[in-house]
């Protein structure tokens, strides 16, 4: 058996999200739930107990009507590249950073539900299964076989649709290729976005759209001062959107973040 490590160059998958293009439709949120077998809301679920691996927040410039201007910011796991907070604190080693793709993987089967990672994540991108998943009768036929459903008591989060990564690798393997084509692997939210606000690619590939987009002057990341080196780059021409993303001490920001 050959060792293939030399032929696969490590990728760092990331995204650029153009806040100026996002219209807050929510297609990404629904597509993510369809792809990853996330169940519909339990009777007691609200926005603090729900499962929204990607969640679009409505932010505004802090002014009252009619000076108010809003924008929509999809927030998902930022795939922190440095000192990944959730991976650091997990007592079960249920979080694993893949050196080949840069994806921070959550293993719900290993999780014991202490929720330490949820406290550690600065982006509130991790979600706890307060209840067992329940689909209306018959709807369980529409589950995706590439993703395992989770039981209650474990934490789950976005892992860049790793099921699609598996499928792309398998397709490449069937053709004898050790590497996937860039176009083959796209997470569900990226595929679903009707305005093309979310773009995905390999940040290590200088020619890729996201690598070039990340370097643009209007690109910024959420809470950059924390040093988590997230791999999601947000883009906006509007200064007040960038200010909300950098979040100085609480109460100092002029804008508002709403659900």
């Amino acid at each position: 058996m050959t060792s293939k490590k030399e032929t696969i160059r490590p990728a760092r998958y990331g995204m650029t999200i153009d806040v100026d293009r996002c219209n807050g439709c929510g297609a990404c949120m629904v597509a993510c739930a369809v792809e990853n077998n996330v169940p519909p809301a339990h009777a007691g679920a609200n926005d603090r107990k729900g499962l929204t691996w990607i969640r679009v927040y409505k932010v505004d410039n802090g002014q009252d009507y009619p000076g108010k201007r809003s924008a929509f910011v999809p927030v998902l796991c930022q795939q922190c590249g440095s000192e990944t907070p959730c991976a650091h604190v997990c007592p079960q080693q249920a979080v694993d950073v893949d050196p080949a793709t840069g994806v921070v993987g959550q293993m719900p089967e290993r999780c014991l539900g202490c929720r330490y990672c949820m406290a550690a994540c600065p982006y509130h991108a991790r979600y706890f299964n307060w209840w067992d998943p329940a689909w209306p009768k018959g709807m369980e036929k529409t589950l995706n076989p590439d993703v395992a459903p989770r039981m209650r008591g474990v934490v789950e989060k976005c892992n860049f649709c790793y099921g699609r990564w598996h499928e792309a690798r398998q397709r490449a393997a069937a053709m004898g290729k050790p590497d996937t084509e860039p176009v083959d692997y796209v997470p569900a939210c990226v595929e679903a976005c009707p305005t093309g606000a979310i773009r995905f690619g390999d940040l290590n590939d200088a020619k890729s759209e996201v690598a070039r987009g990340a370097k643009e002057p209007r690109s910024f990341r959420l809470l950059e001062s924390l040093g988590t080196e997230p791999k999601i780059y947000y883009q906006s021409q509007r200064d007040w959107v960038r200010e909300i993303a950098s979040a100085p001490r609480p109460g100092a920001e002029k804008g508002n973040v709403n659900g």
């Binding site: 058996m1 993987g105 089967e109 459903p149 790793y162 397709r171 393997a173 069937a174």
Partner: protein, 191 residues
Amino acid sequence: MGKIWLVAGLAAGLGAGWVAFPYAIYQRRPQPVDFSHKVHAEKAGQKCEDCHSLREDGSFAGIPGLDKCAGCHAAPMGTTVAEKNFIEQYVTPNRQPQWMDYARQPENVWFSHATHVKLGGMKCEACHGDMGSSDGLRVYQQDRISGYSRDIFERPARLVSLRRTGGMKMDDCVDCHRRNAMEQSCLDCHK
């Protein structure tokens, strides 16, 4: 004097643990049809991949469905009772046999046959044993508590298991990956 009791107890414990327990922990269930790989390999000239094929997109077809069998066995091709039963109970009423999968992994495991067979060049026997020369299917042994097949835990046809390896547990996969310098990350094999 009391030593005999100690020794007897020791013997009882060892016997129960090494002999009775491995026998009792597995529930034995026969496969629905007494299928002979040997007959199909020799007489029908079939290789593994004729029935257990890789599809175009790389996914593995697994145990073939009734269509594959009925393609040849719409009418009896031999004289065995097993074939006659198969045609009567499954082909004619168009009922899928409920095969029991010796290698069925938990739901959260992702295993890609395409990667291992095509890219890795592995042979079926390396993990599944020499099925091709078996004349009849082994009894399916299922762990009563966890529900998994015996093949996952250890090599089949052993009453007593002395080694930790030889099955299809995660440890077995990791061992092979480490030996071949293919150690990767968790999500490579989990979903």
